[in-house]
Symmetry: C2
Subunit: 209 residues, 2 copies
DNA sequence: CTGCTTATAAGGCAAGCGTCTAATAAGGAG
DNA sequence: CTCCTTATTAGACGCTTGCCTTATAAGCAG
């Protein structure tokens, strides 16, 4: 047969195959994007597929349902974030003050404090309240994050005016979350540099650095 | 005509009128309830009306659309929360430490830290990112909340080891938000009493109380 | 080159949503 | 008591969603 006319309606389009791993990653990425752009309400299975440039049938081929994709996205994001935070801070583990600073910088980097990520995160938080599987991911993330922080400040010599470790970690963790949201709500009101400076300040006060 | 058979399908049900103010309040309350129970995705106009026990047509009679109702709910909630926090803390304004404590207790009371409220709040936060009207409400709330905190600690005598006021307020505000979320995610992991104790601790450290 | 596996697309279906319109009655004004 | 305003209900419409089923072709094994 002659090749079809240039823009004759082809029976199908975009049929290039991709390895399952790549496609799954594509869908996860598209999910994050959708969560950020459209919020929980706008993040439908069909919209995710649209964003990923695949037909809506494909989601079902890789995930049981849209909710399942959401959960996997959450897990993936937690894993990536923890890995990256650790990679940023651990090289300076010998110098707690510097290590914490690197940690803060990483937290407020575009990678993890971009409106995309935090927007997605808030949807996950909501899910965590009513769904056990999401709550489990949240718990695990929280535990590991605190453990990492604790490892960073452990080398500190005990000082009499320092707070009990658990309390200090809990408060620092709260400051991080609080400023994270503040930054999300308006990077004008509290710019990145100020968030990091405030974290440094809090760390100095809490650990008597 | 004879009265209709006991359970003959009445042409209509539940036609008792209510004053517009009451009905609006009903719908706002139902909205909060829905946000908490079903998240952003499940909070549809029809579901809100179902929850409020009115027909789905009524929403349109009082609000231009469901989104508008959501915004009004946000405004209402902000107003109520600020008023209640002020009422809780201001009577003790002469004693900053006690005033702050009362403030913290109020923040973590069932009224404002119940899963209902925080769940709703997170939906509002998400909206604030992409919609100017929600962002304006968020901004105003934030400003007024900080002003209130500042009024509470102003009577403190200046101490050399205290942080600059702006920094201290920003950090305390972050701690509150962070712990609020922490409490939302699991009141098991961080129970109310501990949240309040941590706030007190943070206040002591930040303001050198 | 041939044929099998399976990634991909596309369409159908029931359910739910938001919007709009029309019909009804509640409750105060006269 | 009657009438008029309007709070309230109910139904219709078009659209989108999630799920499922069927058809197609991409790319590897032989």
């Amino acid at each position: 047969m002659a090749s079809p006319a240039p823009d004759a309606p082809p029976t199908t389009r975009r049929r290039r195959r991709a390895s399952p791993l790549v496609r799954r990653a594509d869908l996860v990425a598209a999910t994050v994007n959708c969560l950020a752009r459209l919020g929980a309400k706008g993040t439908t299975g069909r919209e995710i597929c649209r964003q990923a440039g695949v037909s809506h049938g494909l989601l079902r081929h890789y995930f049981r349902n849209p909710d399942n994709l959401l959960l996997e996205t959450y897990e993936q994001l937690c894993e990536d974030m923890l890995a990256q935070l650790e990679a940023a801070a651990m090289p300076y583990a010998a110098e707690p003050r510097e290590a914490l600073h690197r940690y803060f910088v990483a937290v407020f980097s575009d990678d993890w404090a971009g409106p995309d990520i935090i927007g997605a995160w808030m949807v996950f938080w909501q899910q965590a309240r009513s769904r056990a599987d999401f709550a489990a991911v949240s718990d695990s993330f929280n535990l590991r994050q605190r453990a990492l922080l604790e490892r960073l400040v452990t080398p500190l010599p005990p000082r009499e005016d320092a707070l009990p470790m658990v309390d200090a970690i809990a408060l620092l963790s709260a400051v991080l979350d609080g400023l994270w949201i503040e930054y999300y709500l308006s990077d004008q009101r509290t710019p990145r540099e100020r968030c990091i400076a405030l974290c440094d300040l809090a760390a100095r006060r809490l650990f008597a650095l």
